[in-house]
Amino acid sequence: MRHAIDTVMVEQRAASFTRRSIKTDSKQQGLRLALSMIDLTTLEGKDSPEKVRSLCHKAVTPWEGIIEPHLPSVAAVCVYPSLVKVAKRALEGSSVNVASVATGFPSGQYPLEVRLNDVVEAVSDGADEIDMVINRGAFLSGCFDEVADEIAQVRTACGHAHLKIILETGELETLENVRLASDIAIQASASVGPIADGEVFIKTSTGKVSPAATMPVTLVMLESIRDYYEQTGVRIGMKPAGGIKTAKQALHYLVMVKETLGNDWLNPHLFRFGASSLTNDVLRQICKQQTGHYTATYDFSEA
């Protein structure tokens, strides 16, 4: 089941995606696509209901300025479980989903019962998507069955809600481990029952550990998704999170997705960015493209 990974070649290949020339119309389309794929995230101890409501407003209407054609909404708002109800109410009637981190995010160092309960409550409060963390301690100790079993139980607890499985690649040490964790996450989810396209995502990081998402790590995970698709025809989603701050980086990731998985994955049902500051940089670039003038950071609201 273990795949050997050639780290040097993965890095080379990942770097090659940053050298595509994307200009004018394709750039504009790429930026708008990236905007529609963002999980607008706030995961801080100081988050308040008002901050979340304000973020939800930005999620639906990323910018108040006049721009043609209209800007898309982002894909989801991602919050802690205690703020799911607030987000759900604020997003009522919009196309934006509520995603909640759960399972004792970000460490996951809680008894399984507590973690599962975390999921059940977030779902009953209205979360459309659950971002879980895997048990890295168990994974690094070689207890792969335990990791897989927990993922399966979380998927069961999710019910109708979509599941994103955070590998926390910054703690997994090697790309081989990243590949193995990706494979375990996908297989464990599939063991519970059939997976509809985009019902299960694998996600790089919590954003609380450095390094977070990098292109080589994301490439290894995309290859795991590709191989699973070739074997079974099931499309697993991908979410790099943490450290993607600029529109240029986002376009590099889109190139990587297109050239690894194909056009099917170039939509918010199968690919997401977990980010907060990325949104404004994408907006700045969209405005620059349309008006020809560079914009200021203070032209856009923080939340």
Partner: protein, 290 residues
């Protein structure tokens, strides 16, 4: 065997790093005898944009410094400038027919100008700000605050002093600056990057690009992140182009009218009234005891 002189190729100074232009272009700078004295980067609009991002990133670091600390850092920069007195004097002489004594005088005036601005950093607030008389149980204060990113378009002469005088004013108030070096003699600007690097100026507070100034006017004027523009001795059509571009984002645009010997008068070049265009006035009400 005659030795082949190694002419320097200057890089730009952006975000605390010496970088080449992304465009790959360069300009050969010829001295008065028509020989190539150095090569400098020919910046593109993207280099300018990159410099704005760096200056924006450094703004809170610089504007949050106490005036006292900013003064110490500017003084340190003056010390470093003094240490390169001869290098600057010969750089000035490269393009301008003048005696070495006159060139040194310009360097000395530049050092003195910087020292004066170093002195103003914790004093201009008292001159520009005030306690306003109001009827009621309140105090009412007006205090100057840094604006943000300011672009300085360096005049061709005096090639070092003009640059330092225009740079000092916005810097003193806590703004971060992008200098566009003179295209007639960009060498003093290019060397100034090395002065910044060896003094304690935080990365991104001073950014120096070189190239053809007129190519950049439009981009400087229309970039919404640029809060102010400071220049001197520009032709009328250039001033019009800049003011029209700047209107949309309501930038502060100032064209200094300094000329000739005025540049050498520290009471004029380092006047707090040259700082005033690059601050925003904040007025606050505060309940008084009675």
């Amino acid at each position: 065997m005659a030795r082949l002189t190694v002419a320097k190729t200057y890089k730009m100074y952006i975000g605390g790093k010496f970088t080449r232009t992304e465009s790959g272009r360069s300009i050969a700078i010829k001295n008065l005898q028509g020989e190539v004295a150095a090569h400098v980067c020919h910046a593109s609009r993207k280099d300018f944009r990159g410099a704005v991002e760096c200056a924006r990133g450094a703004f809170s670091t610089w504007s949050d410094c106490t005036g006292y600390l900013r003064g110490q850092i500017l003084y340190r920069m003056a010390e470093m400038l003094e240490g390169r007195r001869d290098e600057f004097a010969s750089a000035i002489q490269t393009m301008q027919k003048m005696t070495i004594a006159a060139a040194r005088k310009e360097v000395d005036a530049s050092v003195d100008c910087l020292v004066q601005f170093a002195g103003w950093t914790d004093k201009f607030q008292q001159v520009l700000g005030c306690a306003n008389p109001v009827a009621g149980a309140y105090y009412n204060f007006t205090t100057p605050q840094a604006q943000g990113v300011v672009a300085v378009i360096a005049p061709h002469t005096p090639s070092l002093l003009g640059l330092v005088a225009l740079l000092g004013a916005p810097l003193c108030a806590g703004n971060t600056v992008i200098v566009v070096g003179s295209d007639v003699n960009p060498i003093p600007a290019a060397i100034l990057g090395e002065v910044c690097q060896t003094s304690d100026i935080p990365s991104g507070v001073i950014n120096i690009v070189t190239g053809v100034q007129s190519e950049l006017y439009e981009h400087i004027a229309t970039h919404r992140q640029v809060a102010g523009i400071y220049s001197a001795a520009l032709a009328k059509k250039d001033r019009v182009e800049i003011e029209q571009g700047a209107a949309d984002s309501m930038k502060r645009v100032r064209f200094s009218t300094l000329d000739g010997d005025d540049w050498f008068d520290g009471s004029i070049t380092a006047s707090p009234w040259n700082i005033e265009p690059f601050v925003e006035m904040k007025t606050i009400w505060h309940p008084s005891a009675c």
